[in-house]
Symmetry: C2
Subunit: 456 residues, 2 copies
């Protein structure tokens, strides 16, 4: 039995896999920060080298931004081809003083490895490299063909990925895509995600007077950019948490009765959820449960705001300018460009005299819904059950993985979203972590997936 | 004629006075910033030394914060006593990159001296030291008794001044106070200010989740502290620019018909005003002119705001916290404590689940209105006419000088607000400046004031 020998191989090489992962986590591959450009490149080289060591061909494909690692093993001509996608770049680690151990010194505590990128996405992505490595070392071949596309710009909008997929469409041709960048539903409750939210992102800058003014001499006579920015942001929601941008909900695909029933049947303790976040209550759009709001309702969140005096004590000024970074999570079938245009128009039409607005948008992506009943989905359910010893539940997720929409649009394939992490893994937050057990179980599930996908 | 010899003395010692002022302006006495504590002390010592050099007795009176310089010359037993108040501390200089020359390297260009504190208040305050110096050097005595109270905490709320005035009430006893910390009405249009706005200042901090969260995984499910802070700030005004804090206008003393007529008669070019600030229009409370809004209507301005990601590019988080610094300018007869309490209550009652609010208030003060018809006012009008060669207009100002209220409450005296600066002098802003001509004219007016106050 080939799978059995692969499983044994993985079992006996766990320590080595963890050490290699630690090596990858030590590289501060922060794609948003241009000072870390060389580190990002170094992480790409690491991934390429591990693919080559496994027995794949692999190379760096340079882009206008950070390179894409492309790798493949195509020794199973009559079998299907799976394309594994992941990313080696990470979010900025700040606020640094809230980390118990430094973000780029991976530290093992309580069965978890703590580091920026541990779960998002270095740790999860690496399971597929290790499963391929195990097949090729233990058996000498894979039951399916496997391709890898591991990018370095996921955390900054994947600006160059679509161009790559379009230009190299033949090379990337596959039957199904595999992505591990989501989470299990909960502890010991593996999940396959069939829906994701999309996203738009922008930065809004308001310019008032040409310089900071004395708030006594000028206050009350001129528009204050911070007060105006606050009014613009407040105008995004009504008192029921509904977004007020005109037309925002026009294209929203409502949840089906079946989905709402399925979601309600999942174990979810709202009090525990709030306690884990340190808040005394959840909050959001009226008429929807917390799970529905997280997975299937659109949002409009300010991610950062700044303006005026930032130091100690008071300073009596009317500031010259203020700015905010805003993202909206989208749901099927909202159109990213349409929402972005509506948002900009909504803000502009509210400007008082004395304020100029600059609107800069970043790359966005639409939401996705995958077919819950495909044969690939069935193979994945069996593989996850093998790796984790428990049937996965089918869920949606609130995050955005733009490439899933791109795979559908450009390559014409569905994506299997196989999440090995947990929502409590602090992704995008201080003290990001990944369970070592989940790392090993995920690698086993990945190994089983190659066998399951080969079954007729 | 004694005044004439004083005038000649001042005329022939202008260069020396400017050099001494430059020396004072070189000291970065930023009272809000604890890193500059030693510099603040050094500025106090400079003022004390100049008073002593003029022929006054002078000393530093230590406080819980920065020291107060107290000086006096009491050689005119049958004449009235004037108390000069000023401050040697300055606002923080940021944003530094908007200064044409460094804020603490005083530079003379186009007839102005550019430096932080040039007009607010080192340059203006120094005129009274130089006028006393001139009387004592040229004549050997003053026509009146003069006391000096020059503090170092005006820009951070004058926390220790009232305590000083109360504790040393006998020592500070006087017939009238003199303060030069306001502006002329315009170029070559000197003014005496009979009304000032008051102020309250606070900092509002909102804490949401215990740490930054992934905006995809959690967005829509929990209150976002920046969005909530924006809603709170937006709730401070209605769409007509009227402040919505309950009871806020209850105690507001409305302008008299005579004042509105006087204000309307002053030269004021709104288009030029807007152009000087780099804005395409003024804005504020409906139903009032721009001058009325600046001088006699209360405000609520955000002076600084911060929260979430501040770096380059996007970051998809729901931030853990956000905060804002807020000041309200008050008018007669609003009560600072009552307004502060109403503001806090108004914000607290709007909080959604999942957000905690911390409210910190700084020292505030009420607005003041002085008697336009006192004999001291008449003396001041004659002195200003002598110094500037033109009758002053009577105006109100939008800024706050807490000590004026304290002089009334603690010492029982009115204050002569004799402003030598211009509103275009960029006080509290980059490129703060003070006209050298105004510096010399103000010194002459101060010298004349001592003579005028002595007349029966």
């Amino acid at each position: 039995m080939s799978l059995e020998s692969v499983q044994q191989y993985l079992q006996s090489h766990q320590q080595e896999a963890v050490e290699q992962l630690q090596e990858l986590l030590r590289i501060p591959s922060i794609s948003a920060d241009s000072r870390h450009r060389a580190d990002v490149h170094r992480a790409a080289e690491f991934v390429r080298d591990r693919l080559q060591a496994a027995g794949c061909t692999a190379e760096l494909v340079e882009t206008a931004g950070h390179p894409i690692v492309y790798g493949e093993w195509l020794g199973a001509p009559d079998a299907p081809t799976a394309l594994v996608y992941g990313h080696y770049d990470v979010q900025p680690p700040d606020p640094l003083d809230e980390w118990a151990s430094p973000p780029f010194e991976p530290t093992i505590r309580d069965g978890h490895i703590f580091a920026r990128g541990a779960t998002d996405d270095k740790g999860q992505m690496f399971t597929h490299i290790k499963s391929v490595d195990a097949w090729l070392q233990a058996v000498g071949k894979l039951p399916v063909n496997v391709k890898f596309v591991i990018e370095g710009e996921e955390e900054v909008g994947s600006d160059n990925l679509d161009r790559f997929l379009t230009a190299q469409r033949e090379r990337c041709r596959c039957d199904v895509a595999v992505v591990s960048d989501t989470a299990q539903y909960g502890p010991e409750l593996p999940a396959i995600t069939y829906g994701l939210r999309g996203i738009i992102a922008c930065e809004v800058k308001l310019q008032g007077p040409k310089q900071d003014l004395h708030s006594g001499v000028f206050g009350g006579a001129v528009a204050n950019p911070i007060n105006v920015l606050a009014q613009l942001i407040a105008s995004l929601h009504d008192t029921e948490g509904r977004i007020q941008i005109p037309g925002f909900y026009d294209d929203v695909l409502e949840l089906t009765a079946e989905e709402r029933k399925d979601f309600a049947a999942l174990p979810f303790d709202e009090q525990e959820f709030c306690e884990s976040l340190g808040i005394n209550g959840a909050s959001g759009e009226a008429g929807f449960t917390t799970l529905e709001r997280r997975w299937a309702r659109p949002t409009c969140d300010v991610n950062g705001i700044t303006g005026g005096y930032q130091g100690e004590g008071p300073k009596t000024i009317v500031p010259a300018r203020a700015s905010a970074k805003i993202t909206c999570r989208l749901v099927p079938d909202q159109d990213a460009h349409k929402v972005l245009a509506s948002l900009e128009a909504w803000l502009r039409q509210q400007l008082p005299p004395g304020i100029e607005l600059t609107f800069k948008s970043f790359h966005g992506c639409p939401a996705v819904l995958c077919d819950r009943n495909s044969p690939y989905m069935a193979a994945a359910r069996r593989a996850v059950a093998t790796g984790f010893g428990r049937e996965p539940v089918l869920i949606r997720e609130g995050g955005s993985i733009p490439v899933v929409a791109s795979f559908k649009q450009i390559l014409g394939v569905d994506t299997l979203l196989l999440g090995w992490g947990q929502n409590t893994d602090n992704l995008h937050s201080p003290n990001e972590r990944f369970s070592l057990e989940a790392f090993h179980q995920g690698t086993q599930a990945s190994a089983a997936l190659w066998a399951e996908l080969a079954k007729p």
